[in-house]
Every structure is written in C-alpha cells, then in structure tokens.
C-alpha cells in the first residue's frame, strides 16, 4: 500500500543516510596526518563500527512502539542518571584532560551525558502529557523543572559546560512545546542567569575563553588558535574546495579536525558547495521530519517528543557549524552523524530511530522493510 507518506519518509531516510555517508567519508579524509601513521585507518574503522552499532540500535528503537517508548522514558531517565553518577565515581569513570566524562570498556568508551539528550525530552514529555491525551490537558507544574535540575549538575561537574547547556536547552524546548507558562520561564531565567554569570566570574578559564572570543570580533588574528585555524581552513576552500582528500590544514594545523571541526575540513575540501550542501541536507531532513510529524495528532506525546528530538538534532548540527565559523564560543559539540565520535554518533542514530518510531502514522502500526504496516487497527479510509 502506497500512501502519501512515502516521499517524506524516503526523503527523511535519504538525508540521514547521506549525512552518515558524508560523515564516514570526511572522517576518513580528516584523520590523515602529516606524518605516516595508522591513525586514518584506526579512526575510520572505529567510526564504521560505531556507525554499525548505531544503525542496529536505531533499527531496534524504530521497532519499539511509541507507547512502549512512553513507558520506557522514566527507566531511561533513571538509567542515564545512574550512569552519570557512575562516571563521577573514581575508578569507574575515565578522566581525560582533567574532565571525567567517559565510561570505558576496553577499546570502547561511552559518554552518558550523550544519553541525557535522548532521555530528558522523552521523560519530560511523558511527565507533562497524560497517557492518550494532548498538551491541551498537560501538566504545567513548576516542578517539571526538577528532572532537569537533577541531571544538569551531574554533567556540569564533570566538567562539561557545553553539553550541560545543550541538555538544558533540550529540556527547556520540551517544556516550551508542552505549553509551560511563560512566567515559569521568566522565574527560572531570573534564577539561572546570575548563577551562570557568577560561575563565569569564578572560573577564570571559562572567562578567558569568553574574552578571547570577544577579542576575535575586532581582529580575527587575535582569535584562539583552534578557531583561527578553523576559519583559515574554511576560507582556504573557497567556493569549490581544493578537492576531496587534498586539504592540507587537517594534516596538522587544525586540531580536532575529524571530530568537532570536521565541517571546516568539508569547507576546505568541498568548498562552499560542500558546506551549504551540508546545511541543505539538514534543512531537508528537518522539513521531511516536520511533514511526518504533521500527520500525528497535534500536541500528543509522540508529536512533542518527536518534535523536540528532531529539533535538537538539527540544532546540534547548527550549533556545531556556528562554533566552527566562530559565531558561538562553546566547544565540545560534535557535528551529529558527521563527526567522528563513539557515543555521540550512536545516541544520535538512536534518537533518529526513536523519532522513526514516534512518527508512525498510528500508534498501532509497526515498521517493516516495506513500510509502516497497520498491525491491529486499519486506518479509516479517507475517502469516506
């Protein structure tokens, strides 16, 4: 049975695959080093393994029904919370460059704060919207802020300011979409802004980073080394780029060229065509996703959670591009699906899978290789 959903579904899947494929290609290219080493093969192999794991996870997530996701949400949240706690326990969490963010098993490591990006919106949507209801009857209690308040400090103390802000933004977006009163937003902003400001004053390293960033706008050559190299790398590509694999900046001048700054490498090798193409892919994915959501009952749990997960994913891509182009001072936000990165890639693919599940035409359809198939209830004929 062919429905009108087909093109949106195809477009959505195509964009996701193109992005992941571009990621694999660029991780390979950006992992080259100036001196012969096996890094390029090591990185691309690991990336492929994570990609495979992520696709398996996404497929499994897509097969779980939306209602099951709703009931899983609290458990996912608790799991995330425990993992975040475990990271902070010495001996369990792994410390790299002074930050304790990873859990490690042998070759593979996992960053629980990534999981928070998935768990928090699901949990908040589940808490506020009653089962089988829409946001019309949503709970709008100020206590909805508590799930965020329990989670965020654990990420903040790792320390990982960038991810903390991002997770909080995801939570805030969920509350915004479920219709949380504006006065609550105002109240919590009034509490949070002084706290953030105080932290910037008290932590010289964060303040220094901000000052550097501010200086950059008057004279770009004053920019921090990494950002300067990122701009140079982008600019050197011009409109059509120097050619795939031929970039020279990634060889040594641009740090983190295959992770957070992979977009700069795309800019050098594929030019403006490549970078605008990347934005275009995300735009197309977003539009296709919104079109899929538009078929759902407005304001339902599925709608809200799907909207937040989708917006969050595209938002992360844009924040990363903003960092790479020197418009936002934060660091540590990889480009979803494209950057090399274990748990980030897996969780992003997982949230695509969750979105795929939530965006089913009805609660009772399941997904198989030929599309959404009604399992119990047949959709009423529209012509009637």
């Amino acid at each position: 049975m062919t429905t009108t959903l087909d093109w949106e579904r195809n477009a959505f899947l195509s964009c996701a695959c193109l992005l992941a494929g571009l990621g694999l290609l660029m991780v390979h290219s950006a992992s080259m080093t100036s001196w012969p080493s096996e890094y390029e093969r090591v990185y691309v192999t690991r990336h492929a393994v994570y990609l495979g794991l992520g696709i398996l996870g996404a497929t499994a997530a897509a097969r779980i029904s939306p209602n099951r996701w709703r009931s899983l949400a609290p458990w996912l949240y608790v799991l995330t919370w425990l993992l975040l706690l475990a990271v902070l326990v010495p001996g369990i969490g792994t410390k790299v460059n002074g930050a304790q963010r990873w859990l490690r098993w042998g070759q593979f490591s996992f960053q629980p704060s990534e999981l928070a990006k998935l768990a928090l919106p699901l949990y908040l949507a589940m808490l506020s919207i009653p089962r089988d209801e829409t946001i019309g009857r949503a709970t709008r209690s100020p206590w909805l802020v508590l799930p965020i308040a329990f989670l965020a400090p654990l990420i903040l103390v790792e320390p990982d300011l960038g991810t903390t802000l991002f997770v909080c933004a995801g939570g805030a977006l969920t509350l915004w979409v479920v219709g949380w009163p504006l006065r609550h937003f105002l109240t919590f902003s009034a509490v949070l802004f002084p706290a953030v400001a105080a932290m910037l004053v008290l932590k010289p390293y964060q303040r220094e980073r901000l000052m550097d960033f501010a200086r950059m706008w008057s004279d770009w050559s004053e920019a921090p080394y990494q950002l300067k190299q990122s701009l140079v790398t982008l600019g050197a590509g011009g409109v059509f780029g120097v050619g795939l694999g031929k970039g020279s900046q990634k060889l040594s001048f641009l740090p983190e060229s295959n992770t957070d700054f992979v977009v700069a490498v795309i800019g050098e090798e594929l030019g403006l065509v490549g970078t605008l193409g990347l934005l275009g892919l995300w735009g197309a994915l977003y539009i296709a996703g919104l079109r899929l959501l538009a078929k759902l009952p407005f304001g339902s749990f599925r709608y809200v959670a799907g909207f937040v997960l989708l917006t969050q994913l595209v938002g992360q891509a844009f924040v990363n591009v903003a960092v790479v182009t020197g418009m936002v001072p934060t660091k540590g936000i990889p480009h979803p699906l494209v950057s090399y990165g274990g748990s980030n890639l897996v969780v992003n693919l997982l949230s695509l899978g969750v979105f795929w599940s939530l965006a089913r035409p009805t609660d009772n359809t399941t997904w198989n290789s030929s599309g959404f198939v009604p399992s119990a209830v047949v959709e009423p004929a529209r012509s009637a």
């Binding site: 100036s34 001196w35 209801e133 829409t134 946001i135 019309g136 009857r137 977006l173 915004w176 979409v177 479920v178 219709g179 701009l231 140079v232 790398t233 982008l234 600019g235 050197a236 590509g237 011009g238 409109v239 020279s248 900046q249 060889l251 040594s252 001048f253 800019g267 030019g271 403006l272 970078t275 605008l276 934005l279 995300w282 735009g283 977003y286 919104l290 079109r291 959501l293 538009a294 078929k295 759902l296 009952p297 407005f298 304001g299 339902s300 909207f307 917006t311 595209v314 938002g315 844009f318 591009v321 903003a322 182009t325 418009m327 009805t362 209830v377 959709e379 009423p380 529209r382």
Partner: protein, 611 residues
C-alpha cells in the same frame, strides 16, 4: 476547527498549521476530548510555540549559510594566503664565498664548511634538562639557553660553527633525533692570520663582507643564495619539497689581488719593529710597483686577527693607509719642484738664496733647521730647505701651486678598490692666501692619506705618468684592466727628480739612514706636526714619513712608511723613524723579487690561473 483551505498545493504548503497539525479530520480514537473541558485550552493554542522554535532554527540556518558564504567567498583571499603562509617556508641555501688569493696564488682568505647546531624547541619536552646538557657541552650559560628555548618555537640556533670537539660532545649527548639538527654553514678562514687584515676585511657568519676587499667585492665573492620552498606542518616538520621552485645557490667567485704575501710579510715585520721601537699611536706602510700602479703590500698598525675579530685592539679596525689623513710635510717637496719645472717657473740649474735660515714673507717669518746661504735646486731638496721651497712657491704663485697639487691627485680619492678611502683635504684656490704660498711647497695647509702621497710619487717614478693604484690583479682581457692614466710632467723632468735630487737625499741628505750597501735608493723624508682632532697643530707630536724606491733609473718598487705621533725620541724626523724601515723593506723585498721565486714582477703573468 477552521474551514479547510482550498486544496491548492501552494497554499497547503504555505499554511503553517499544516506543519504542526494535521488539518485533516482526526483519526479514530484520537478525538481531543479536552476541548469539552473549559479548564483545558485547545492544543492549537500552542501552535505558535512550535512555529517560534522551528522558525528560530530556520533563521539560524540561514544566518549560518550567510556566514559560510562570507568566509568562503569574500574572505577567501586572505584566509587562503594565510593557509599558504603558515605552511610554506622559503629557505635560503647558502653559497660558498669565493677565495681571495695573492698575486702568486697564495690563499689569503677561504671558506671551510662547518656544522651549526640548531634545535626545535616545540619538540623538547624536558627543556631544563636539554638546556643543561647542551650548555655543558658547548660551554654556554644554562639559564640564558633555557630562556631562549622557552621563547622560540620552530627553530633556534644553539651555536653556530661548532669546533670539532664541540661537535663530538654534542653528538655524544645522544639527544632524540627530532629535536636537534646540524646545518652546514661556511666559515671564513684567513690562513695567514692577521696578514693584510685591513686590505682583506671580514666576512661574517651570514656571509656579509665588512671592510676591505670582502666588502668591496661583496657581490663577486659572496655568490647568489639559492632558494627552496618547503611545505611543513604545524610542528615544523617538512612534508614536501617544492622542487619546481628550487633555485640552486651559485657559489662566489675567487679574486686575485696584486698583493704579494711575502712583501706584505716583510712590510708588516718592519711596522711591528717600528711599533715596538717608537711606541707610536699607529703607523702604516704601502709598497707598490710604480710602473703598473699595483699595490704589493698595504699594512696598518694597530692590527687585528680576522680569525678572532673579537680580540681586536682599540683603533685596530682602521686602515690608516687609506683612511688616516695628515699633512705630508717635506715629502711633498719633490712633487712641487717637478711641477715648477714643468710650468717653467724655475730652471734645473738655478740656485736659491736661503737667507741663512730666516726669511720674512709678509708678516710671517720662515725658518730652516740649519742656516743655508745659496743652495742649488738639488740641494734645496737634499737639505729640505723650507725657505728655498717658499721661494719656488713665490715663483709658481698660488694658482701654479694649486695646479701642481691637483695634477698629482691630491684632494680626491685615488680610486683604489677599497671601501672607506678618504679624499684628504685640499682647500679650493679661492680660500688660499699669502700664507699658502709658503706653506703648500713645504707640505702644509693640505692633508692626504698615505696612499695619495705614494701614488703622487709613483707618477714621478713612472716617468711622469700618474696612474690609478690597483689592488686586483688584471685578468688581461676586460676593459676594467685599463687603469686611469694621466701624464703630469715630462719623463725628462720626472727622471731627473728621481735620479738627481731624490737619490742625493739618500746619499748625503736627510735620508741617509735609508742607504743600502748593494742598491741605490732614492727617497724623501717628511715630518709634520700632528693634528689634534679639532684641526690645530700639536707641538709635541709629529707625523714622520719616508718615501723611498729603487733603483732610480727604472724604479721597481716604491715604499712609503708613515709613523703617526711617535711618542718616544726627541726628534721624530722622517729620516730617523721611517727611513730605516723603508730601507729594510726595499732590501728584503727586492732581494726576494730578484730571487728565484720572484719572477712574478719582472715577467708579469698574463693571467695568473684561477678563474
């Protein structure tokens, strides 16, 4: 709900509600029951929130697209240049400077390859340890080396031109290979030590000549540095060598001087003897072949060792032969007499009343050292009578005297191939007065370098033809081989002056100390009061000079020794201080030149090899 919009594709897409809510009838089982309840607002109340969130994202995407376009199109030029600048380095490859030889091909200056030690500070982990090891091996200051390592990134010279022992000690440290390296550089070596140091000058670490021939022939000797482009990474490692843009270094060419190292050595030994005997402030000597104007030796004291320039004494850098000026005193007299004869102002057989030692010229009273009555023209020179010369001056008048000084090249540089030659002082004729008529003929009121003085005399020894002195041996072909020549007086006059009065000066006059048993020497003494830095005379110090040559018939060698401000002895007459040195130089040099190895001067080589 609202009435469904017309089923037009465009309006369907433009209606924002369709993005967030299906306008088609709700599905079974999902009818919003909440609408019935007055407490629950319809979910559509919150559409705008989704529109705001998604709209913000879309706007952000457009801003980013604009920013990317700006960076990659508008600023592309600058970033592209920067990317090239930080990865491409142009490196100079050093040419080997040319050697300097004397006229017989003896090596005066050459270049040897040495190793210079550099390190790459950014690759050093334990700066303090490395600084300590290197400082111990090379006898450097540990703290300052550490500071230098800390303040450099990609490249730092630790020490240039290591000695063999230093090189061994550094290699024995067995430092990690990626943090250090040796680069071949050329070190200038002067095999004969301080010999002719002032003529040669110096060549520094970077191959730049300072002073002397090294500076004068910088382009010729230095060669052309080559260039190559290296592509390197952020840690300074070379990734790629751009061979298309490689320009090979072209080595410097050798140069052959007119100097003869043996004559130079003879001259310098004599100067050193003068220095220790009389303790003067300085002295200088020049030996040249009057027939060709070629300088066989040029030396100045105090001197320095170009292999160890740091130990140079005060004033040691100055080449007095071309850059110290003094009044010539009596040494100039033969030149004035020759030109007076040339101008027909006097005759050879004339005699002059020397007024018994006192002669009033206007308000000025001139004195001779001894009282003479009538003196022949020859004796005026032999006795070096000031009064006799003053009378000749009166005959010539100021205009004639001026013509004579100009004719012998005073007041302008001789044009020898050395930097820093001074022109001396010859005031313009309109500044001259009655005093000048008496002063100029006895070598006062004008000042010159030793080189100017000997070149003036060389015109007489060269049968009346003035010619530019030279320091570079002619190759026999090029146009520059022809030196500037100018007949000043007839050969008859010149030969007479040399063979009669100047020979008599040595035989029985003021220059008897220059007499040699086996050779006939001609010459002229000179003594003038030294000048203070302000230009006035010093009563206690003298500049003594003696100019001599041999043989008178066809002079092969002319030697001038000038002793500046001799501090010892009561009478610093040129005859006493400088004449013995000149005699010794003439004897030893001519013996050497006559001997087996000295065919160099008699049959002049057309082209003395090397080029």
């Amino acid at each position: 709900m609202t009435s469904p919009p017309p089923e037009n594709v465009v309006t369907r897409w433009l209606d924002p509600r369709r993005w967030f809510h299906r306008v088609v009838p709700p599905m079974a089982g999902n009818e919003p029951a909440s609408i019935d309840s007055p407490a629950a607002p319809p979910p559509e109340t919150f559409w705008w929130r989704n529109v705001a969130a998604a709209g913000t994202l879309v706007v952000a995407g457009l801003v980013l697209a604009g920013r990317l376009t700006w960076l990659q199109v508008v600023e592309r030029e600058e970033f592209g240049k920067r990317a090239v600048r930080q990865s491409v380095v142009e490196e100079e490859t050093v040419p080997r400077p040319g050697d300097i030889h004397d006229r017989a091909g003896r090596l005066l200056a050459t270049s040897v390859q040495t190793s210079s030690l550099y390190i790459v500070p950014s690759r050093i982990r334990e700066r303090w340890t490395v600084a300590g090891q290197l400082a111990d091996a090379l006898e450097l200051n540990r703290d300052s080396l550490y500071e230098r390592i800390a303040s450099h990134r990609h490249f730092l010279w630790v020490k240039r031109r290591l000695s063999d022992e230093e090189l061994k000690r550094v290699q024995a440290l067995e430092l990690p290979a990626e943090i250090w390296g040796l680069r071949a550089e050329y070190q200038r070596v002067y095999p004969l030590g301080s010999l002719a140091a002032h003529v040669l000058g110096l060549r520094d670490v970077d191959g730049i000549g300072h002073g002397g021939v090294e500076q004068q022939f910088q382009e010729h000797l230095r060669g052309t540095p080559g260039k190559r482009r290296l592509v390197r990474d952020s840690r300074g490692r070379v990734i790629e060598l751009d061979s298309t843009l490689e320009a090979r270094a072209r080595d410097g060419r050798p140069i052959q001087l007119t100097l003869d190292a043996v004559v130079q050595q003879i001259v310098e030994i004599q100067l050193d003897a003068v220095m220790s005997a009389w303790q003067p402030e300085g002295c200088s000597a020049i030996a040249l072949d009057p027939a060709t104007g070629q300088v066989l030796a040029m030396a100045s004291r105090p001197a320095y060792d170009p292999n160890n320039p740091a130990a140079a004494p005060l004033g040691g850098w100055k080449n007095r032969a071309i850059s110290a000026i003094h009044e010539p005193g009596s040494t100039i007299k033969p030149l004035i007499v020759a030109h007076a004869l040339h101008q027909d102002a006097i005759r050879r057989d004339e005699s002059f009343n020397c007024e018994y030692g006192q002669y009033r010229m206007g308000r000025r009273v001139l004195h001779d050292h001894h009282a003479y009555g009538r003196l022949s023209l020859v004796d005026v020179l032999v006795k070096s009578s000031n009064i006799g010369m003053a009378k000749i001056g009166e005959r010539m008048t100021n205009a004639g005297l001026y013509e004579a000084t100009v004719a012998f090249g005073f007041g302008r540089p001789t044009g020898i191939e050395l930097p820093g030659e001074l022109p001396g002082i010859l005031r313009p004729l309109d500044k001259w007065n009655g005093y000048s008529t008496g002063s100029i003929p006895m070598g006062h009121e004008l000042a010159m370098t030793p080189l100017q003085l000997i070149v003036g005399h060389a015109a007489l020894a060269n049968h009346g033809v003035w010619q530019q002195p030279r320091l570079v041996l002619p190759t026999g072909s090029s146009a520059e081989d022809r030196s500037v020549q100018q007949r000043v007086v007839s050969s008859e006059i010149a030969d007479w002056i040399v063979q009669e009065p100047m020979t008599e000066v040595v035989r029985r006059g003021t220059g008897t100390r220059a007499k040699l048993s086996d050779r006939v020497v001609f010459g002229k003494t000179g003594t003038a009061q030294a000048l203070t830095p302000e230009g006035s005379y010093r009563s206690d110090r003298y500049v003594s000079s003696f100019l001599g040559g041999s043989p008178p018939e066809n002079p092969r060698l002319l030697v001038l020794v000038v002793v500046d401000q001799a501090a010892e002895g009561s009478e610093q007459f040129g005859g006493k201080v400088a004449a013995p040195a000149v005699a010794a130089i003439l004897k030893q040099s001519l013996d050497y030149l006559d001997g087996g190895s000295a065919g160099v001067l008699t049959d002049r080589p057309e082209k003395s090899s090397r080029r």
